[in-house]
């Protein structure tokens, strides 16, 4: 039933005291990925002023790694421009946590995807045109969601 998974200190810190947990009131953009069947679900809401993410909050249904990656992602993003935030990769998330157990790497994917969708949501709501690359990545995220 159980499987020994070792988390490092950094992951445990974020799990025990998650940063920016909750939901923003009147957010400028919201991104949601995953579903309870596959075991992880994340919702990220952002506030944007002059192209800068001024506030961010997350809600997560999932394991220790899912909660820690959500938390660390929010800390990476606060104060960044949308363009900078968009470029945050799963690797950057995992690195910020000083590594994740290999079996849990997909969790870091989920966090960066939720953030990406929140940014795309903001752009759509504010009439900012999406590049072809952006449309492609959004489509890919949604497809993966269904398959998982």
């Amino acid at each position: 039933m159980t499987n020994p998974i070792k988390y490092n200190k950094k992951v445990m810190e974020h799990f025990s005291n998650p940063h920016n947990m909750g939901e923003l009131e009147n957010p400028d953009g919201v991104g949601e990925v995953g579903n309870p069947v596959c075991g992880d679900m994340m919702k990220i809401s952002i506030k944007v002023e002059d192209g800068i993410i001024t506030d961010i909050k997350f809600l997560t249904f999932g394991c220790v790694a899912a909660i820690a990656t959500s938390s660390v992602t929010t800390t990476l993003v606060k104060g960044k421009t949308l363009d900078e935030a968009e470029k945050i990769t799963r690797k950057a998330v995992a690195d910020a946590l000083e590594g994740l157990p290999p079996i849990k790497m997909h969790c870091s994917n989920l966090a960066s995807d939720a953030l990406y969708k929140a940014i795309v949501d903001y752009k759509k709501k504010h009439g900012i045109p999406l590049s072809e690359e952006e449309i492609g990545r959004e489509k890919k995220i949604d497809e993966e969601d269904i398959h998982e």
């Binding site: 039933m1 075991g39 992880d40 679900m41 994340m42 997560t60 394991c63 079996i103 849990k104």
Partner: protein, 394 residues
């Protein structure tokens, strides 16, 4: 709760070896190191001690001593019973029936036989994880040679209707095997009264040593050995005996028989207290398994809107060890197949936590857990998008 102490509620993983068991084993790790197969008395006299251990195990199950074969544990016992029986009796038929809530040592053994041309049917279970008897009857065929159903469901502890199964099989002369790894030492088992033909179990689940177990095989039933070599275990299971382990298993069986009348009521009381406490104090929870017809030490509960691993981790931070059926807790990243077979929706199976109690647990530990758990659940729910959705829609 003192910081150096922890509460062990994962007795289905393994149990604390009883100090009396360790004491009984020690001479066989020290001065009594002889090989029972040796010609000289220093070795051969150990056969007398193994004989006593065999009698102790037999007594626990009401079997005859020569119906007990020592193994390395229930995984080996189950593999042996299923493969060994099927291979020895394939001229009579090549159809086997197992339940849909078996441990992998049973279901994967059956899968293995499929590759050798056997056919396997699975008995569906109800919402409690108990096999559907009527569906089971429909699966029986003229070429069915073996039926294997666990004594109790391994994840929720629901007791299977063993008597009803063996009554049906008796008329048809089909052999019955049961994986009793969760049950031996927690509920009295009488293989004669219940008409059980083969039964496998492990020592370490009831305060015996790891790497020990036995397979009971009723006299007259033929199984092929899986481990070939010397003539140990009447030529059925080769290899120099794990003497300290066998002695320890015998002691554990003796202790279980002696202590069960006192610790079963105690476990039942702790189980009920923990179950009722959680159901009372936390909203949106569901008890998995049959409310009454279950082992005295199983408390498997699902917490809506949550995933099990994060609950387990928060419990660990409070010094409580338990288990979960969530996908994140399995190597395959798949939710527990047992809970799935019971029709537990995936999101509820994700949030299942199993507390399995043992004879060393106390009421104080149960009360501490009832006190700490609601805070843990509340904290994680505040993080859960599913809970927020539920609250908004209320």
């Amino acid at each position: 709760m003192a910081e150096d102490k922890f509460i062990y509620f994962d007795n289905i993983a393994t149990t604390m070896t009883d100090p009396e068991v360790i004491e009984a084993m020690l001479p066989y790790l020290n001065e009594k190191f002889g090989n029972p197969s040796s010609f000289y008395e220093f070795g051969s006299q150990i056969n007398d001690d193994i004989k006593i251990a065999r009698e102790q195990v037999a007594a626990l199950l009401n079997a005859d001593p020569d119906e007990i074969y020592f193994t390395s544990g229930s995984t080996e016992s189950n593999n042996w019973a299923i493969k060994g029986f099927a291979l020895a009796n394939q001229s009579k038929g090549k159809h086997l029936i197992i339940s849909s809530v078996e441990h992998y040592s049973v279901s994967h053994s059956a899968e293995f036989l499929k590759q050798l041309g056997f056919e396997i049917s699975q008995i569906p279970v109800d919402e409690f994880g108990i096999i559907k008897i009527e569906e089971f009857k429909k699966l029986l065929r003229a070429d069915t040679i073996l039926v294997s159903v666990n004594f109790a469901n391994g994840e929720v502890g629901s007791l299977q209707p063993i008597n009803e199964i063996t009554d049906i099989l008796k008329e048809r002369k089909i052999v019955f095997h049961t994986d009793a790894v969760q049950s031996v030492g927690y509920i009295p088992i009488d293989v004669k009264k219940l008409n059980i033909d083969m039964l496998g179990f492990s020592g370490h689940r009831f305060y015996g040593p790891k790497g020990t177990g036995a397979l009971y095989v009723k006299k007259g039933i033929r199984i092929l050995p899986l481990i070939n070599g010397g003539v140990q275990e009447s030529g059925k299971r080769a290899g120099t005996e794990n003497v300290p382990g066998i002695i320890g298993l015998g002691k554990a069986a003796e202790l279980a028989q002696k202590q069960m009348p006192s610790y079963i009521p105690k476990l039942t009381e702790l189980r009920n207290k923990l179950t009722d406490g959680i159901l009372e104090k936390i909203e949106r929870v569901k008890l998995n398994g049959h409310p009454e017809k279950r082992l005295p030490n199983f408390v498997n509960i699902s917490y809506e809107f949550l995933e099990g691993e994060s609950i387990l981790m928060m419990l660990i931070m409070k010094g409580i060890m338990a288990a979960s059926g969530s996908a994140c807790q399995s190597k395959a990243l798949k939710v527990s197949p047992v809970l799935t077979a019971m029709g537990v929706p995936a999101d509820l199976a994700q949030g299942s936590i199993l507390f399995s109690l043992g004879k060393h647990n106390t009421m104080e530990e149960v009360e501490y857990t009832i006190k700490e758990l609601p805070t843990i659940i509340e904290r994680l729910r505040m993080m859960s998008p599913l809970y927020h959705k539920f609250k908004k829609n209320q």
